[in-house]
Every structure is written in C-alpha cells, then in structure tokens.
C-alpha cells in the first residue's frame, strides 16, 4: 500500500520540483515580487490579530494577551461607531446616486457635440481635476467656499441670499462633499463610456438616418442600448464600494464642527488609532470594514460575471 502511494506521488513531486528548477530564472524574478507582497501586504495581515488582543507596545503583536471579541463588542455598543458607519454609507450612497449618472450623461452629450477642436478641449479640461490631490483641491475649495470671502457666497449674496458655510455647517457638509466629488470625477469617469460609444458600428447610425431617425432617436435607440451592458457592469462595481470612503477628500475638508455628519470610518480610524493610540480598537474597526468590503466585492464580482455571461457574450 505504502509502496503504491509512493509510486503514485513520487513522479508528481519530482515533476513540480523539476519544473521549478527548469524555470528557475523565472522563479527568481517572481521571488523578488513575492518577498515584497509577503512583507508589505501579508505582513500587515499578520497584525490583524491585535484586533482580538489587548495590544501593548512592550509585549508586541505576538506577546499581547487575547481578549476575544472585546473590541468588536465595544465597537457595536458605543455611540461613535454607529454615527461614523452611518456617515460612511450615506455619503457613499449619495455619491453613487449623483456621481454615477453624471459621466454617462456627459459622455452622451459630448458625443453629440460638433466641432472636433471644441470637443477635444472640453474632454481635456474635464479630466484635469482627476490628476490633482485633495490637498490642492481642498486648499482651492476652502478659498472658494469661504463664507466671508469665497466666490460662491459672493454670488449667493448677489442674488440676495444669506452666506452659507458649506464646509462648517452640518446641514451642508455632506452635499458639498458629494458635489465636489462629482466635480472631480465626472470627466475621467466618462472615458470608459466614450470609448464604448466610439466602438459602435457607424453602419447602425447610417441605417437609422436613412430610415429617418433624428439624433435624439438615434441616441435613444442606438447609443444608449449599446452602452447599457457597460453601464450595468460599472453600476455593480461602483455599488461595491459603498463602504469605502474617500479619506483624502474628507480629511482635507472636514473640521470638528461637522464630525457629526462628516466623520467616516477611515478618518475615525486615523484619529482614534494613530492620534489617540487606540491600536487594538481601531484595528477591530478596520477589520470589520475590510471584511464587509471584501464580501461585497465577492458578491459584485459574482453578479458581474453572471451578468457578463448572459448580457454581453
């Protein structure tokens, strides 16, 4: 029996070993990358255990004592996390509702725009904000949205309105984040739709023109159906990021006055973790978020692949 097993397994092992030896040059190249991934990606995953421990600097990650789900229980029993979780999901949801259709509408309108030079200029300008950091954009919008000297409030006053403290008033903060996020992303987000539109068979439009369809009818009956599959895939993928907040944006634009409505998971983890040094607690918060996020990604990937099978190919 044992002999038989060995006879079956030995050649297999030897084959893998031999294959690795044969391609040792490739394996060596890969090894450099694997070392990087093991240290800098799997290394932090090893540290996740402190979410279940009472981390003490002296004792280190391994030496600190286990406390089970203590930090998770604290997270759900406390008031703060509920607020932060709610803010995260609400802001993401609003961004999805406002930010998802914007690039599609922009792509459709841009596609119908006459004049090659004008079209190119609009396109180039619309991508620009995507390349600038939220530090720069934060600085710019602190200027422009200022209630005392900002241009936006200047216009509001011109029309007889009261100045609005967009970044300091809890009633306005979330909407401001949503609008700024749409402003930054609509141009860049349109690329994928523009590329899909440019791949549509021109013969379809020619045939439609001969049949007497005007441009609106063509947009409605040719362009829109042609980009519907990609719209659906993008929607599923975007809705997967519902628990992912934009740390850079919030962190550079929020302040204590709006924590109640604007503090999100990542900013909360940063303040409680690195500033207040609650390492174990914030690791637990981070793990909770990452696990949900991962589950959503698996789900959306599953839906997308199902959809692609039936919808496109």
């Amino acid at each position: 029996m044992d002999q038989k097993k060995a006879a079956v397994h030995k050649p297999q092992k030897a084959t893998l070993g031999r294959m690795i030896w044969k391609h040792r040059a490739l394996m060596l190249m890969l090894l450099v990358g694997l070392v990087y991934y093991i240290i800098f990606h799997y290394g932090p995953m090893y540290g996740i255990q402190i979410a279940f421990k009472d981390y003490k600097f002296r004792k280190g990650i391994w030496g600190s004592s286990w406390v089970g789900f203590h930090w998770f229980i604290r997270m759900f029993s406390g008031q703060n996390f509920a607020v932060v979780f709610r803010n995260t999901v609400l802001i993401s949801l609003y961004k999805l509702i406002a930010g998802f259709p914007a690039p599609i509408i922009f792509a459709l309108l841009l596609n119908d725009l006459g004049g090659k030079w004008f079209k190119k200029t609009v396109q180039t300008v619309s991508y620009l904000p995507h390349f600038l950091s939220w530090v720069i954009l934060g600085g710019i919008f602190l200027q422009i949205l200022s209630p005392s000297t900002g241009a936006v409030n200047y216009v509001i006053k011109l029309f007889g309105g009261e100045p609005i403290y967009f970044l300091g008033d809890p009633r306005w903060f979330r909407s401001t984040m949503v609008i700024l996020s749409v402003w930054k992303g609509f141009g860049w987000g349109s690329i994928i739709y523009l590329a899909t539109i440019s791949g549509i068979d021109p013969g379809l439009y020619e045939a439609a023109t001969i049949d007497g369809a005007n441009r609106f009818q063509q947009a409605l009956h040719i362009t829109l159906p042609s980009i519907t599959p990609i719209i659906s895939i993008m929607f599923i993928m975007n809705s997967g990021s519902i628990i992912n907040d934009d740390f850079d944006q919030i962190f550079n634009l929020y302040n204590e006055n709006v924590y109640r409505v604007g503090d999100v998971i990542s900013t909360y983890v940063y303040r409680q973790g690195l500033i207040e040094m609650k390492y174990s607690y914030t690791t637990a918060v981070g793990v909770f978020k990452n696990v949900i996020s991962f589950a959503i990604i698996l789900l959306t990937n599953f839906i997308t692949s199902k959809f692609s099978e039936y919808g496109i190919w």
Binding site: L16, V32, Y36, Y46, I48, F118, T149, N252, G273
Partner: protein, 295 residues
Amino acid sequence: MINERSVGEKIFNIANIIFMTFLVFLTVYPFWNVFITSISPVGEANAYSLHLYTLNPTFEGYQKIARNAYLLVAYRNTILRTVVGTAVNVFLSCLVAYPLSKKYLPLRNLWTGLIVFTMFFSGGLIPSYLLMESLGLIGSFWALILPGAIGTYNMIIVRNYFQSLPADIEESARIDGASEMRVLLQIVLPISVSIIATISLWYAVGHWNAWFDAMIYTSSDNLMVLQLLLRKMVIEGSAQYMESSGSIAENAEFTVTPDTIKTSAIIVATVPIMCVYPFVQKYFMKGIMVGSLKG
C-alpha cells in the same frame, strides 16, 4: 417635417454647446480664482469678489514663498521620491509581470491569486503602521517608496500586455540561447514602451500627489513632501510653515495676506501637473482602456 426636426436639432446643438461651455467654466474657474487671488494686491486678495481679474498684478506672494526654506526642501523631496519611487515601481512591476505572463510558470495561478488577493483585502492602517515600526522604517525616506513598491493594478496591466505579445518573437531568441532576463530586457521591454510609459505616468502622479505616507511615517521637516507642506500651509493654516525663514526686516518689505501666500503655494504645487498633463493625457487614457478591457 424635416425642417422641424433640424430646427429642434439646432436648438439642441446650441444648448449643448452652452452647457459644455458652462461645464468648462465650472472646471476651470476654481483654478482661475486661486490664480488671480495669488497675484492680487492686499486689498483685493481678501476682498469679497469673484476674482475674475486684477488690474494691479503683484508677485509678492510668490516672492515670499520663494524664500520659504521648507518649500525648497519639500520640492526637492517630492521630485526625489517621484523619480526614485517611479523607477522602483516600474522596474519591479515589469520584473514580476514577466514571469506571471508565462503560461509555463509553475503554480502560476497560485502566485497570481496570492497577489490579486491583496487588491481586495488588506491589514488596515494600524497593522501597516506597526509593521513599518518593526521594520525600523519610521522616519526613513524609504517609508515613502517601499510600501507601495508595486501597484498591483498597474502590474496586472503590464502582465496582460506581455501576455498579448506574440510568443514567436521570444521563441527565436530563446532558441539562440538567450536567458529569460535577456528576453525581458532586450526583446519584451523595447516593444512595450507605450505601456511602460503609461504606468510610469500613473506611478509618477501617485508619488507627486502623495502626502499621507509622509504624514504618518515621517515627522522630520527634512523629509517633508510638497503636498504635506501644502496641507500644513493651506488646510491647517500653520503659521510656522507659512512664514518665510527670512528676518523680520526682510518680511516687513512685503505686505501680503495669508490668502496670497496660500494661493501662491497652491499654484506652485499645481503648475507642474498642469504643464505636463496636456501632453501625456493620451497615455493616461490608454492605461484606463487597457485595464478595463482586459483587467
């Protein structure tokens, strides 16, 4: 009927042009506003206005920040991390993408799975920080380079590109006895210039715009990067970083408001990207298309 239709289309065309012009205005105006503020004299810079133009341009804000010792260091560090960081990124991305692109790589799916998994799951902020601490990288320049040494998304784009290359080009070289490394360097890389340019730009913009790693992993002013300095100046409004290192007598020469200094600093940090951006835009778009079609 046909006439009616073309009238409708004409109205739509005009409305579309007006709307697009408005969008361009909305996108450009914030930058214009900040630029005009930066060159406005004291009375105008902090006045309640649209800052559409100024009749008395002054460059005192720029003169003032040109003397800011922090700015020079921060600019140097940002350029350094962009150059060194991008070089490391591109080298490692190609080095790892190449074996992963080969169908005959032993256990290929396992390696790919291990790497792609890190795109969707991570240890999080605190474990990453503790790791950097235990590696002794806190306060080091390499803390800005090593944690992000390979951008997985970019690496996968390169792998997909390598995979799409015809195999027979490499085969003939291999028959001649060329090693894998030589095939990569002398055959694969020269025909992949466009995709390498694309990911280089992605990486470079990432380094140019990065600030969070510098904020948490370094504390010395000697390692300050441009975006972090900008954050301290315009977002935190820190007087220490806004004031120039010049003497009081020197400072008295200038009569500038904090707004002028802040807006000048914003422009100084934005101009490099604005200058390069129109020329390299097509590479950026190429990247997003390659990624979305095959990724």
